[in-house]
Subunit: 466 residues, 2 copies
């Protein structure tokens, strides 16, 4: 499902590309990928989608069908011949996939021939914006859930085939498993699942349905207990079957609550299970869960062991999208900025490096320093808008965030597995103080500019001002 043709782009990329092709085919450009606002009103985001982008870029081609189609849109023969041979041969510097990232500083920089870097814009934004949104949502749910088990069950409500990538991003953000078999298979995530109401309804008799299921699938067996009545029917039947399983040497993994007051039902369920000597049987809960509901369930001490999360995870509800953008920062070696009436939206010129400051306790300090890529070391960083606010950086470890991940169209490192990326995210999150993770008014992770970068930006602003 990663077999994406180069025509998966906006028409205007091709229109602009043809103009470049005719007027300045050898020009080079640098584009920055960054976003402007943390999703979900939170204090951070988890960068995801990079490995997919690298794979897509290595194989990006226009098909014969694409080229045939583009003839109808008035593209010239010469340009279509160029597209026929199109390959992305640019160079990418990027934060590691799974790293913690913040607004208004480059996460990724693409440099190369202007035609090539323009054509890839759309698919890059399409993949990174979405997966970063979902990985961030997943990490928030993980934060609420503590060390309880989290299952992604969202495929049926995901945005069509976007669900494939949602499951991948959910694993990076901290989910333990997914119901999505295809994603599990391709991305090496653990697949898991329970049973549907229809299974029980097909039997008419709940006890019989449970029995057949437990006989055929004794491992990781979870019985859904709310089809008729959770406490009066589902649970007693599940207990009967759990006892029958014990006699065969099997163990029921869990019962699943999918409606009603989950905190109340979980407590009642735990009590009934324990009284039946089934202390080992887990309680799985689902039904419109998100980070807030899970937080509330945990605060109520609902004895739930596994949370199944669907719609709110895979759609990133209530945020529709991450507002990631791709802005020109250099053209033929010259710095460029995008102005805006809103000073905060003015972009940063030139190729840059972002340094994460690590304090003496090994924790993220609370501000990234951004300098020109050509600078050796930044000794002092300045508030982007207030020269009186500045900070000496001697006492911190400086960790450069952007690394070369693709050189002239070829990947620099072997492919990283989703499990490795997820492990990295977990480790990085442990370095982020809690103030940035809380849901209400989280701390703002600041930006400091090097003296040189700031001077360059201010010069460009003044040149363009009216």
């Amino acid at each position: 499902m990663l077999d994406i043709s180069a025509s998966y782009t906006d028409l205007y990329q091709l229109t602009m590309a043809q103009v470049y092709f005719k007027t300045k085919p050898k020009s080079t450009a640098v584009f920055d990928y960054y976003f402007r606002k943390n999703p979900f009103g939170g204090g951070y985001a988890i960068f995801a989608g990079l490995e997919n982008i690298l794979e897509i870029f290595e194989n990006l081609r226009f098909t014969e069908k694409d080229l045939e189609y583009l003839k109808n849109y008035g593209f010239e023969t010469e340009f279509l011949e160029y597209l026929q041979k199109f390959q992305f041969r640019g160079t990418i510097f990027s934060a590691a996939e799974g790293d913690i990232v913040f607004p208004n500083r480059p996460i990724l920089q693409v440099e190369g021939n202007i035609i090539e870097v323009q054509i890839v814009e759309t698919v890059l934004l399409n993949m990174l914006n979405f997966q970063t949104l979902i990985a961030t949502k997943a990490s928030r749910i993980r934060y609420s859930a503590g060390d309880k088990i989290l299952i992604d069950m969202g495929l049926r409500r995901a945005h069509a085939t976007g669900g494939y990538f949602a499951s991948r991003a959910a694993a990076i953000g901290g989910f333990d498993s997914t119901s999505n078999v295809k994603a599990a298979e391709d991305f090496n995530i653990i697949a898991s699942g329970t049973m549907a109401h229809s299974f029980i309804q097909s039997y008419g008799n709940e006890l019989e349905a449970f029995r057949d299921f437990a006989l055929v699938r004794p491992n990781n067996c979870v019985l859904l207990v709310d089809t008729y009545n959770t406490l009066k029917s589902g649970l007693p039947n599940a207990i009967t079957v759990a006892k029958e399983m014990e006699r065969r040497g099997d163990q029921l993994f869990g019962v699943r609550l999918d409606s009603g007051d989950l905190a109340y039902l979980a407590k009642k369920t735990r009590k009934l299970l324990d009284e039946a000597g089934l202390e080992y049987v887990n309680i799985v809960a689902s039904n419109q869960l998100d980070e807030y509901v899970i937080k509330s369930l945990n605060e109520q001490k609902a004895p739930i062991n596994v949370f199944g999360v669907g719609t709110n995870l895979v759609t990133g509800n209530p945020d529709a999208a991450l507002d990631g953008v791709y802005k020109l920062s250099e053209y033929n070696g010259d710095p460029r900025i995008k102005l805006s009436e809103n000073i905060i939206k003015v972009s940063l010129p030139s190729k840059k490096q972002v340094y994460r400051m690590i304090d003496q306790n090994g924790m993220f300090y609370g501000a990234d320093a951004i300098g020109l890529a050509s600078e050796e070391r930044i000794s002092k960083m300045f508030d982007p808008f207030d020269n009186y606010k500045n900070l000496e950086l001697k006492k911190f470890d400086h960790e450069p965030l952007l690394h070369m991940v693709m050189k002239n169209g070829k990947r620099e490192h072997p492919k990283r597995k989703v499990s490795e990326i997820a492990q990295y995210t977990k480790q990085r999150l442990s370095m982020l103080p809690d103030e940035y993770k809380r849901f209400q008014n989280p701390h703002i992770y600041k930006i400091g500019l090097s003296e040189k970068l700031k001077a360059q930006r201010d010069r460009l602003i003044s040149e363009h001002s009216f």
Copy 2:
């Protein structure tokens, strides 16, 4: 991008399928697809995604890689051999794609072998829920926009490859064109686009950038005028270039406003264009548009000719998903219902037909009648919960909504084009009174049950009650 393997499903479908395979491999089932709540607080939805589902179902197979993978999950050899030969051979009755649909009544019914109809549940929900959400959003935006031109520009913020299907659904709901080249190519939608800020920035000089663009792409040429300053720079430069184009016998199609107060800027822009004798130049507006902003712009008489809509369209913002479900209504010929503590959520048993009532003016009457598929004609319909409310149906034309679209796994009709579906949607919307289209407190399109269906449902409820 429709090449979807059968493992694009939830693991529990396969788990349940194996139990069916071991215990009742020849059983049959009927499932209903319907949703519970109109999206966006509106009064209707536009059913979309059917053609894709039919195409996917005809070709749905497990790959060797899928089967190899499933071995790790404890599926038995016999069942894996079954999956190797898996084909969907079920029969589907469905509303026409593009029809107007309402909550809590069947839109589509799948019948066939229980294993097959269970395995396809996830991909069916995944595709229909999303495209119905987006087609509905598009139709709301169309309602606000009147006969102005609407361009889908959302690909960069869409949920990864879900964006491919979003563009398709947008066309069904009433959009004129899309920036998404791949979707345009595969679904025969008109592709369109303008230019990006980066194009102008790469030149540094806005006038030069406009000039090159207009020279290379004189047809449908739209100049983006807000990179530096819309009224002081972008527009004067665009006018200069438009005049140069006139001298070459070309015509500038439009200028695009992408920031600031669109109503104010559009009025100023129109005035300046007209004063320059450029009455024919269109004004294209974009920037976080949705049905409410477009309504407001039209109410302010902003002289905008073309709206470019992105994020809010392709993500269905603010709704994360359509809550479509797939519920068992018949098993081996016996009716089945899904109970719920909430009576409205109790499903309807058996194979059914839905009749749209057409009044003497050729308009939708305001209630669908639902009967058993075996009933010849429904003469009277009853409120689902109140027997005293009922209605004689003699005076209406009865239009059956569900038609056989797939028989034993084979499509019944040739594939319908997106343009035909969009045309059908437009025609059907013209039959829906405005009260159901308005955004604030729209009328509720009611349900009436036939006497037989109601009696059957009530009998099943009482059998299962505790």
